[in-house]
């Protein structure tokens, strides 16, 4: 099914080590018909690499939205977020923490670092709601 040609594509960096979840995010983007290219980093280190490369290499994809799992191998999602926020260019980039955790301390930490919180639901329909959240974020940024 060929997608309609889109004059402008934005970049979504998803830090997620669980491929089934990553695929669900990709499905949500597709279902919502969002102009987003999804880059998947399987651990925190690779996520940081992607972002740092974007800062230094003009040809590298520049992330417009970040989705971070908290419990990531090597470097956890919060640490990734802290390093991103330390870069001037990404101080205001929209970030959503996507996690199975329901811990109040995790929710608090996310709010402190200026990130939305999306608890991974246990049903397909619920999971697809992340598409709506992403649309909202892009609209807030004036990208849609």
């Amino acid at each position: 099914m060929p997608s309609e040609p889109n004059p402008r594509l934005f970049n979504l960096v998803l830090a997620e080590d669980n491929l089934p979840d990553a695929l669900l995010v990709r499905e949500a983007v597709r279902l919502e018909n969002l102009p987003l290219e999804v880059y998947i980093a399987a651990d925190g280190e690779r996520a940081i690499d992607l972002i740092v490369k974007a800062e230094n290499d003009p040809n590298a994809p520049c992330p417009h939205v970040l989705l971070l799992d908290i419990n990531l191998p090597r470097i956890d999602g919060f640490e990734v977020l802290r390093r991103v926020r330390a870069i001037d260019r990404f101080k205001a980039v929209p970030v959503v923490m996507v996690t199975s955790s329901d811990s109040p301390s995790d929710r608090k930490e996310a709010a402190k670092l200026g990130a939305r919180y999306f608890r991974k639901p246990v049903t397909y329909d619920e999971f697809m709601k992340i598409g709506g959240l992403l649309r909202q974020l892009l609209e807030e940024q004036g990208l849609l």
Partner: protein, 610 residues
């Protein structure tokens, strides 16, 4: 020498009587003599003037006829008056014409005077009288009367007065001796009684009343005064005796306290209302290895761990200022330098007026307890961490199973036969159920932990939040929920909300045919708030009243009543964690009432932060 003021009343009275008597008699005698003297002189002048007139008249012829001898004879007749010392007749020429001089009187003719007069001179009374013939003065008669008679009378009178004085004194002295006793005796008795009281201190002595006069009144008043003093003295003695007894009792109480303090395993101290510690029992000095002089007043602070001492002193000062009990956990240095955790408590003792009379305190060694608590806290934290990790790590694969079996059902169901679809249904449902169980288990673990610092919850607010979460179920079941105004309680609000939510949720779930009616109320009783959640549901059979609080215990396998069976276990865990208790009163088909209590000051049996 005794002055008049100091001599005894008896003598004083005698002197007063004698002096008064003598003075009165002397004054009377002097008056009588003086009056008599004046009267007698007047009488003498008149008498002698009459004699002189008579002699002058008789001498007119002798002078006319110049017959001195006849004149001398006339004068000589004055011999009959023995006190006439001289009588002379002067002629017109002023020379003595005739004279009579009493032989024994050593005197001359007094000088003639032209006036008729009588006057007293140093020699005596002189009387002059003109000798007239046909109204013409032809000579002068002069008489001299000596005053020997007056002097004699004076002597006589003086002697009489003296005699009367002596006689009356002789009578008055013994008489006054008798009479003075009437006054002096009662006074002496009174004085003797007063002396006796002052010397013996015996206020039961009474003075004898001998008369009804002022002295009698004085004795009465004196006796009344003694009676008053005697009664007050008695009261005073009673008060003093009571006071001595109280002092003895206080001393005994002090001794008992010391004995108790010395024989207790705890370290005991006392302090003044100002907070200066003034007693430490042996256990304290032995533990710290410091002597009393080193730790008295504020010296004990040197045995407190440097990290604890500031807060400790602050807490102690606050208690002293407010009078509120002092509770503090701090480390005390043992004699060997090892610090051990102690719980120090002190309470103010107050007197009858409510003022603080002293502080009594104790230091209890809680080192082992503290270490156990610390271990427990760490274990809890580990458990908590494990629960979260387990939740996350278990949920992820299970979620994959659940969501992807759903996707398979959606997209690939046409490739499966009826049995395959049923098995896929088992897979989906099993995955969801496992997720719910894991979440419930996590909630149950968290229910046992008190989050953060001890807080108070507004039960009304907690109930409102619970009702908001259940709004949909309430509407679907057409349920009526009524509640009273609920109190503030010592409990985390999210925990209270959870308890309400589970109990009300159960009431909605286990409903009967009639629309659910749920009633929530609270009552204070025995230091705790007792909440109740009453419903008109299916009720619980007596044998299961305890079982239902167990983990994953369910009475119904029916699809109608979904859930993992952990809701009441969570309620019990929360309530018991705050020192309360939960139970149910119910009978099958008649609804249930769940009760739970929250102590006013909840006991924290365990502490850990989430």
């Amino acid at each position: 020498m005794l002055s008049f003021r100091d001599i005894p009343i008896k003598q004083k009275l005698m002197i007063v009587v004698m002096v008064t008597t003598t003075a009165a008699l002397l004054l009377a005698g002097f008056g009588i003599v003086a009056a008599d003297s004046l009267l007698f002189r007047g009488y003498l002048q008149r008498d002698l003037s009459a004699v002189a007139r008579m002699v002058a008249d008789n001498s007119t012829a002798a002078l006319k006829f110049n017959d001195p001898e006849s004149a001398a004879e006339t004068l000589a007749a004055l011999r009959a008056k023995p006190h006439v010392a001289a009588a002379c007749i002067y002629g017109q020429d002023g020379k003595v014409f005739a004279r009579y001089l009493r032989p024994d009187a050593n005197t001359q003719c007094p000088p003639a005077d032209v006036r008729d007069e009588s006057r007293f001179s140093a020699d005596g009374l002189i009387v002059s009288r003109a000798i007239l013939l046909g109204g013409r003065r032809i000579g002068t008669l002069v008489l001299l009367y000596d005053l020997g008679e007056i002097a004699e009378r004076m002597r006589l009178y003086s002697a009489t007065v003296l005699g009367v004085l002596l006689f009356s004194s002789a009578i008055a002295f013994p008489l006054s001796s008798k009479l003075r006793a009437v006054i002096a005796t009662p006074i002496s008795r009174l004085a003797a009684a007063a002396t006796s009281v002052s010397q013996t201190g015996d206020y039961s002595v009474r003075a004898q009343k001998l008369s009804g006069d002022e002295l009698g009144v004085l004795v009465d008043r004196f006796n009344e005064m003694l009676a008053g003093i005697q009664s007050r003295d008695g009261t005073l003695r009673t008060v003093l005796r009571d006071r001595e007894e109280a002092l003895r009792d206080a001393e005994k109480a002090r001794e008992r306290f010391r004995f108790l303090a010395e024989s207790m395993p705890q370290k005991i101290f006392t302090a003044t209302p100002a907070g200066d510690r003034n007693y430490f029992n042996r256990q304290f000095t032995e533990f710290t290895g410091l002597c009393f002089e080193q730790i008295e007043n504020w010296g004990w602070t040197q045995a407190v761990h440097p990290d604890d001492v500031e807060a400790d002193v602050r807490a102690w000062r606050r208690s002293i200022a407010t009078g509120e009990p002092y509770h503090f956990q701090h480390r005390l240095r043992r004699a060997d330098g090892v610090y051990r955790w102690h719980l120090t408590r002190a309470h103010a003792m107050r007197d009858a007026h409510g003022d603080i009379s002293m502080w009594i305190g104790s230091n209890t060694d809680i080192h082992e307890q503290k270490e156990t608590e610390e271990e427990l806290r760490r274990a809890n934290e580990d458990l908590q961490q494990f629960a979260y990790s387990a939740s996350h790590d278990l949920q992820e694969p299970i979620r994959n199973v659940a969501v992807y079996s759903e996707i398979v059902a959606k997209r690939y169901s046409h490739l499966l036969d009826a049995e395959g679809l049923q098995f896929l249904g088992f897979l989906t449902e099993g995955g969801r159920r496992l997720i719910t169980l894991i979440n419930d288990l996590l909630t149950y673990t968290r229910a046992g932990l008190i989050e953060g610092k001890m807080t108070t919850a507004d039960a009304s607010a907690a109930l409102q939040h619970a009702l908001a979460s259940l709004a949909e179920a309430i509407r679907e079941n057409n349920a009526t929920v009524t509640y009273d105004k609920l109190p503030q309680v010592s409990m985390g609000e999210s925990h209270l909300q959870q308890v309400f939510q589970n109990l009300i949720g159960n009431a909605l779930k286990y409903r009967s045919e009639t629309p659910p009616q749920i009633e929530i109320s609270a009552a204070y009783h025995g230091g705790a708030w007792r909440f109740s959640v009453r419903d008109n549901g299916i009720g619980i059979d007596a044998p299961y009243k305890e079982v239902i609080f167990g983990v994953f215990k369910r009475l119904h396998r029916d699809q109608k009543y979904g859930g993992t069976g952990i809701g009441l276990a969570i309620c019990q865990r929360v309530v018991e964690r705050y020192g309360g208790r939960i139970w149910v009163e119910s009978s099958l088909g008649k609804g249930s009432t769940f009760f739970f209590t929250v102590p006013e000051y909840a006991v924290r049996t365990q502490s850990a932060a989430v």
